[in-house]
């Protein structure tokens, strides 16, 4: 059992593991992708059935897989971009704190190059 959280520490969300291994609560983008995939599955399957009156389970499952995969890649791409931007911002803030007022100040370099 996990240790109880310290005061002030955010509580870890209870994990819901699909098929016993995919933790949708604690994996970024997983919950979002699975939910959109389920919606896509229902829309595709039901839509196919409405138009053709034929068995639509296969279309539903195919829709689930494709929509989940599509949402997953889209969300992970944006998440990776966001992480890179956060890292750059963190490093720039550190540089700013360290070098403010000195000749290495990033803002001074930037203003110097823009006035030239």
């Amino acid at each position: 059992m996990a240790a109880p959280p310290e005061p002030g520490e955010p509580e870890e969300r209870k994990s819901l593991k699909l098929l016993g291994f995919l933790d949708v609560e604690n994996t970024p983008c997983a919950r979002h992708s699975i939910l959109y995939g389920s919606l896509g599955s229902v829309v595709a399957g039901f839509g196919h059935f409405l138009f053709t009156s034929e068995r639509s389970c296969d279309v539903g499952v195919g829709g689930f897989i494709l929509v989940t995969l599509g949402c997953w890649f889209h969300c992970r791409y944006n998440y990776a971009k966001q992480r890179i931007q956060e890292r750059i911002a963190r490093e720039e803030i550190k540089k700013k704190i360290l070098y403010e007022g000195t000749h290495l100040d990033p803002e001074r370099k930037h203003n110097g190059s823009s006035s030239n």
Partner: protein, 227 residues
């Protein structure tokens, strides 16, 4: 360290481990979808009323189930190779530590700036203080600075061992007669645990690794530079 009954990866303390966790999530989602598809196919197989025994070929289906797995494997291999090459990048380490495996303890040598050498034995249960971790805490921790690239040279004096710290994404075999190298940069301070990961005798489970990662300013005041 891992909490009791933990199955998943520990939180990352190095950029490489962050990448490994991201890759793990990516691979797991692909695995989940494949399992879902296979379970659905199994369900259909078990519940179908179709029983044609004269099917001789299915060229289109065979083409699909050859090309699709190849595409899936490429989707998994590309990020994997990216991380593999990332771990081999040379990033000008600030400090080199030698780690030598013995039966059943580790020796650490800080010889860059002086001659600090010490052994690291697991604390026996009788010697544990309240709050110490059984089978994990050691008498002398490996103290290292954060946010500085560090090179570990790992070898063994007797049999095979393996120097592991899961939170840093490190696992390197200690092989007698060979020097293996691994580099890492820790991003946050703390105490991190690992255990020997290559069977090495009776006390293989009782030779843990403990890293104490501290800010560089405090590290510079320590015995590495003053001894």
């Amino acid at each position: 360290m891992a909490h009791a009954a933990q199955v998943g990866l520990q939180d990352a303390t190095s950029p490489i481990m962050e990448e490994l966790i991201t890759f793990h999530d990516h691979a797991l989602m692909i695995i989940f979808l494949i399992c879902f598809l296979v379970l659905y196919a199994l369900f259909l197989t078990l519940t179908t009323k179709l029983t044609n025994t004269n099917i001789s070929d299915a060229q289109e289906m065979e083409t699909v189930w050859t090309i699709l797995p190849a595409i899936i494997l490429v989707l998994i291999a590309l990020p994997s190779l990216r991380i593999l090459y990332m771990t081999d990048e040379v990033n000008d380490p600030s400090l080199t530590i030698k780690s030598i495996g013995h039966q059943w303890y580790w020796t650490y040598e800080y010889t860059d700036y002086g001659g600090l050498i010490f052994n690291s034995y697991m604390l026996p249960p009788l010697f544990l203080e309240p709050g110490d971790l059984r089978l994990l805490d050691v008498d002398n921790r490996v103290v290292l600075p954060i946010e500085a690239p560090i090179r570990m040279m790992i070898t063994s004096q007797d049999v095979l061992h393996s120097w592991t710290v899961p939170t840093l994404g490190l696992k390197t075999d200690a092989i007698p007669g060979r020097l293996n190298q691994t580099t890492f940069t820790a991003t946050r301070p703390g105490v991190y645990y690992g255990q020997c990961s290559e069977i090495c005798g009776a006390n293989h489970s009782f030779m843990p690794i403990v890293l104490e990662l501290i800010p560089l300013k405090i590290f510079e005041m320590g015995p590495v530079f003053t001894l």
